[in-house]
Homo-oligomer: 349 residues x 2
């Protein structure tokens, strides 16, 4: 298709990391919306909430008491989806196939201050979160039978987050989940053929084209990937290949924290709301094998489409056929690129 038509006509784009497609329908952005709108959660929160189960000193639902922490703090999830036992057994009963799964689920409080979110924290304080993520990745990954560690954050009610206290989660488990398997196999195939990181090549191309790059610093760039699914999906990619966050040197760690702050500030400014998203770090499995092909990245999947209250629904067609989006990746990148990095909540009236 002619390159200039890509913002006008329906087309499919290929995700080089997963091997899957997204349907892009730019002409559809003009349809009216009479459907569901999201409630906006109240933005003003106290620094301490006596009823919050993540604030320092409070009692959690399980009866356990939080310490008076003043650094990022992690603990075992009281309602974990995984447990540490694994009887290692399979059920292979004709057409029914299952296997036992084991693992550890942790909660990571980013700050003791209940009122904050990542964009409102200082770069130094975000650095401390990254340090804790590194420690957890190493410690959990080292455990026998933990072959994958997923670090993620669900932010906002719209993304199923049940507590506004700034926090994320870590699910460490025995099997390597399919999203990571897909990416591993595509990264590996490219590595074998070119002896080079697929993402390093891709990022270099994006930096030259400069159509989907939102921001960058010395060590990282943020792009709306060519194959983005969510309206304002982005990916933070380190400029040099690192298999996991454990490889970050001190200045790189600072640069990572800095770019997280800048990106999430732009997100909040986009619709002048505390921007909901799921964010996750994809990195090398901890299965004891060498992973020279891996190039870690942090992706943001935000649902909002048109405003603070109108989101994109991934429903019928998307669930039964393939993901679909209206605005193009280039249009999304352009909008994010033109936003201020001063948080709207902090601007003088």
């Amino acid at each position: 298709m002619k390159v200039h038509e890509i913002h006008k006509v329906p087309h499919r784009r290929y995700n080089i990391l997963t091997g899957e497609w997204v349907l892009v329908s730019p002409q559809r952005a003009s349809r009216p919306w009479q459907g569901k709108t999201e409630n906006i959660a109240e933005d003003e929160r106290p620094k301490f909430d006596p009823s919050c189960y993540l604030c320092p000193g409070n009692i959690r639902a399980s009866g356990k008491v939080n310490p008076f922490y003043n650094q990022p703090y992690s603990f075992h999830n009281d309602f974990a989806a995984l447990s540490e036992e694994n009887d290692g057994l399979w059920l292979k009963d004709g057409l029914l196939l299952s296997e036992s799964e084991s693992g550890i689920c942790k909660v990571v409080c980013f700050s003791s201050d209940h009122s904050l979110t990542l964009p409102l924290m200082s770069v130094k304080d975000i650095c401390a979160v990254v340090t804790l993520w590194q420690k957890e990745y190493f410690e959990l990954g080292r455990i026998d039978g933990v072959n994958h560690v997923l670090i993620f954050e669900n932010k906002g009610e719209t993304m199923g987050c049940s507590n506004p206290h700034p926090h994320g989660q870590i699910w460490a488990q025995c099997s390597i989940p399919q999203e990571i398997q897909k990416k591993t196999s595509h990264l590996k195939a490219y590595w074998k053929q070119h002896n080079k990181s697929l993402l390093e090549h891709y990022l270099a191309r994006e930096l030259v084209l400069d159509e989907r790059v939102v921001i960058e610093n010395n060590h990282f760039a943020v792009v709306v990937p060519y194959w983005a699914i969510w309206p304002y999906e982005t990916m933070i990619v380190p400029k040099r290949k690192m298999a996991h966050i454990g490889e970050l040197e001190n200045d790189e760690k600072y640069a990572f924290a800095e770019i997280i702050k800048r990106l999430t500030t732009r997100y909040d400014n986009l619709f002048q709301t505390s921007f909901p998203y799921s964010a996750g770090i994809h990195q090398a499995p901890t299965d004891g094998k060498e992973h020279p092909e891996w190039h870690f990245h942090m992706s943001f999947y935000p649902p909002l489409l048109r405003s603070a209250t109108v989101k994109k629904f991934m429903v019928g067609y998307e669930l039964f056929a393939c993901p679909q989006r209206d605005i193009t990746a280039e249009q999304a990148a352009m909008r994010l690129k033109n936003l201020s990095e001063t948080h709207y909540g902090l601007e003088p009236d």
Copy 2:
């Protein structure tokens, strides 16, 4: 794993149709929920709504006027995600890969009566909807360059439906979407090896085990598939292999309509609410090839988990790793099996 432990310990289950896994965490069903709750849309609706763009005789957003239909009625979507032109071009620019896509999007009004939903319609009237689906599958599928026809319904605000008038959609397109490609390849592999339908074998096994079967009639059964993702996900499977709905004989068509009514009535009764879901019919591609491997089925993906207002969120872990559920498929089937088939809204006070 020991079969009796499957309701207690975390495990993974394999989807024989797509080759993907779901993480099941039955022990987690007891966690408290303090997060987002859904609004319940008002259930009482007039038979005719002058502001509804799907009611007979009304003007749509595009300015077109609906006829005074009194049978299921279909028309071209005014804000289609696909268009009929296809310049057939590819962009293969190093690591960026896209291709133009074409197709036709239609809307199918199930009834002229604005107040109805499938469970509240008569079996005869649902039969008329199935007849229209058959006609559309044939007519669209016959068009040159339409290789796949997806018939689906998004029901309820929670599932992105912007109009409560009973309706579904059809997206017919050139490329075969990945969900259908995955299923085609698994059905085909089994067909080649056994000269038998994978789903026919699977259904026979389910009917013997009788742990996940919700209801059945002469020609169809409803099961919560072993690998179900959504809390109350089900699949309507014809007992004999049919590649697509066009193969339904008259008595089978009636049986299909009947089981749709019975299943959706049970859904409404589960939480005494008009039950939201995305439903879709997966069937043979219309690419002109023989598809002896295909066995059509209609799946329901409903988001509600605990009540009319608490849904399951497919977010962080689910987006970055793999789908996760709390209650087991067997527990869901048991609950659905024990419900009445008299609609709660129609029961005498």
